[in-house]
Symmetry: C2
Subunit: 263 residues, 2 copies
C-alpha cells in the first residue's frame, strides 16, 4: 500500500512546552503531535517541522509533515481527526495531501517571526504570556535604523550561540522592521532560515543598544565583528511567534541552508 505525505499548518501556545523538538522528560510539541498521530494510526509516526522553536516560543503558523498509510482519511480531514487527540494548546489549522516527497524543513523557502514588546509600566495580565514586558517605550527610529542593516546575506555569528552546530552562519534576511501596533512594539523579520536564538539575540541587542543611546551603525559594526561577546542579552522567549513559513510552489532541494533552528 502506498504512503501519502500530509502537510499540516499548526499553531501553538509555547508557554507550557519545552519547544518543538522531542526530548527526554519534557513536554514538546513534536511529542504531543506524534502521540496524536500514533493514536490515529495505531503505530508510531514521525512528524517533521519547518522550524525547531525553542522553549516558550509560540507559533502562529508552524508547518509540519508526516507520512501516512491510512487510505481512508482524505488529506483535509486530518485536521479534525488530529485536533480531537491534541491538547488545547496545539491546534491544527489546516491539513492537506502534499507532493509525496514534500519536506517541511528542507523545502521551506522563507520563515517569518514576529517579536512583541509590551512597553508599559505594568504588564496587562492577558499579555504577560505573549510579550516581553519592557518598562519603557523604545524609539522606533533608532530600532529601524539598526534593523535595516540586517537585510541581505549576512554572517550572523555575532548573534548566534556557540552551542548552535550550524557551520554556515550566513542567512539571507528579506525584511526586518519595527512598528507600533495596538500599543506594542512589534519586530518582524523574514529570512530563508535562522540560527538558534538568532531572533531573540537580535531583539535583545537592538533594544539594549537603543536604550544605551548607541548610534544605529553599531549594529553593522557588531555584525561585522562576528564577535558574540558584543551582542546584547537574549530577549525572553514569550514574546516570540513563528509567524509564517513559505514554500516554493515547485519544491526544490537547492537551498544552501537545509537546517533551521528558528529561534
Amino acid at each position: 500500500m502506498s504512503e501519502r505525505t500530509i502537510r499540516l499548518d499548526l499553531s501553538y501556545d509555547g508557554t507550557d512546552f519545552s519547544g518543538w523538538q522531542r526530548q527526554r522528560n519534557a513536554r514538546s510539541v513534536q511529542e504531543e503531535l506524534e502521540t496524536a498521530l500514533a493514536a490515529l494510526h495505531g503505530h508510531p509516526v514521525e512528524a517533521i517541522g519547518a522550524g525547531r522553536t525553542d522553549a516558550g516560543v509560540h507559533a502562529r503558523m508552524q508547518t509540519a509533515h508526516f507520512r501516512t498509510d491510512l487510505p481512508s482519511i482524505p488529506g483535509d480531514r486530518f485536521r479534525l481527526a488530529l485536533n480531537r487527540f491534541l491538547p488545547r494548546d496545539i491546534r491544527i489549522q489546516e491539513s492537506r495531501e502534499a507532493d509525496p516527497d514534500f519536506h517541511a524543513r528542507y523545502d521551506a523557502r522563507l520563515r517569518s517571526y514576529r517579536y512583541f514588546i509590551e512597553p508599559s509600566r505594568e504588564c496587562p495580565p492577558w499579555r504577560a504570556r505573549y510579550a516581553w514586558h519592557l518598562r519603557r517605550r523604545p524609539d522606533l527610529g533608532s530600532l529601524n535604523a539598526m534593523a535595516s542593516s540586517l537585510i541581505g546575506e549576512t554572517d550572523f555569528t555575532a548573534f548566534s550561540s556557540a552551542r548552535d552546530p550550524a557551520e554556515n552562519r550566513y542567512r539571507y534576511v528579506y525584511s526586518a522592521s519595527w512598528r507600533y501596533e495596538d500599543g506594542q512594539a512589534v519586530f518582524e523579520i523574514s529570512a530563508n532560515a535562522f540560527l538558534w536564538r538568532m531572533v531573540r539575540s537580535l531583539v535583545g541587542s537592538m533594544v539594549e543598544y537603543e536604550g544605551e543611546g548607541r548610534d544605529p551603525s553599531w549594529m553593522r559594526e557588531v555584525l561585522e565583528s562576528r564577535d558574540r561577546s558584543r551582542a546584547g542579552s537574549t530577549a525572553p522567549a514569550c514574546g516570540l511567534f513563528l509567524w509564517n513559513v513559505e514554500y516554493y510552489r515547485q519544491p526544490t532541494r537547492s537551498s544552501r541552508y537545509g537546517d533551521d533552528f528558528s529561534d
Copy 2:
C-alpha cells in the same frame, strides 16, 4: 488621623476569577484586592469597583477606590505597594489620591466594553482565553446596522436578565459599533451604565440574528418588545473586556443610574 481616598486603575485576566464581586467559596478580584489592602494596612479595607464584571470577564481598565489611614504612602506609590501583594493575574496600572468623597461606582460617567470574536475554523491557542471562537465570519454591514439601533436612551429589558435587581432598565448608549481588527470582529460599546449580562446578551443576539439572515430592523423590534424570550443566547464571558471607565472632572452624584453590573 484623617483618611484619604485612593483611586486605582487596574487590569485583570478574568479567566480564573468568579468575577469582580466578593462571594463565598470563590476567588474574586475584589477579595484578592482586599486581601492585599489588608496585608498593607494591618486591618480590613473595603475596595469598591466601578463595574461588577461577571465570572470570566476581563478588565483592561477597571477603576476602584478605597479609604486609607496610612499617612506614609503617597497616592501614586500604592501601585507598587499593592502589586507586590497581588497575584499575577491582577495588576494595578495606576494609583493616585482622589477627592475625599470620590466613589468609583457612583461617580462614573461612562463605561466602555469591547467584545472580541475570533472568526476562524480553529482557534489559535493563544487567543482561546480572550475571544469567542465563532466558526464563521460575521458580516459587519448587518451587525453595524443592528448596533446603530442601540444608540441613545433605551429600555434594555429585552437584553437583561430576570435575575438583575435593577428597577430602571433604561441605559444611555453613547456609541456601539463593530469592526474587524487584527483578524477579529470587535464590538465596542460605551454607555452611562450597563445591566447584568447586557453586553453579552447584545453580542450573542446580534451574531445570532445576523447568522439567521434577519433584517437588521429586527434589533429595534426586539428592543421595543421588552420581551426577554426574543433575545438570542448570551455570548461567552471570555470575549468580554471592561475597556475603560470615565469620570466627570467635577464629581457629581446627579446620575440617574447609580448602579452598574457591567456585564
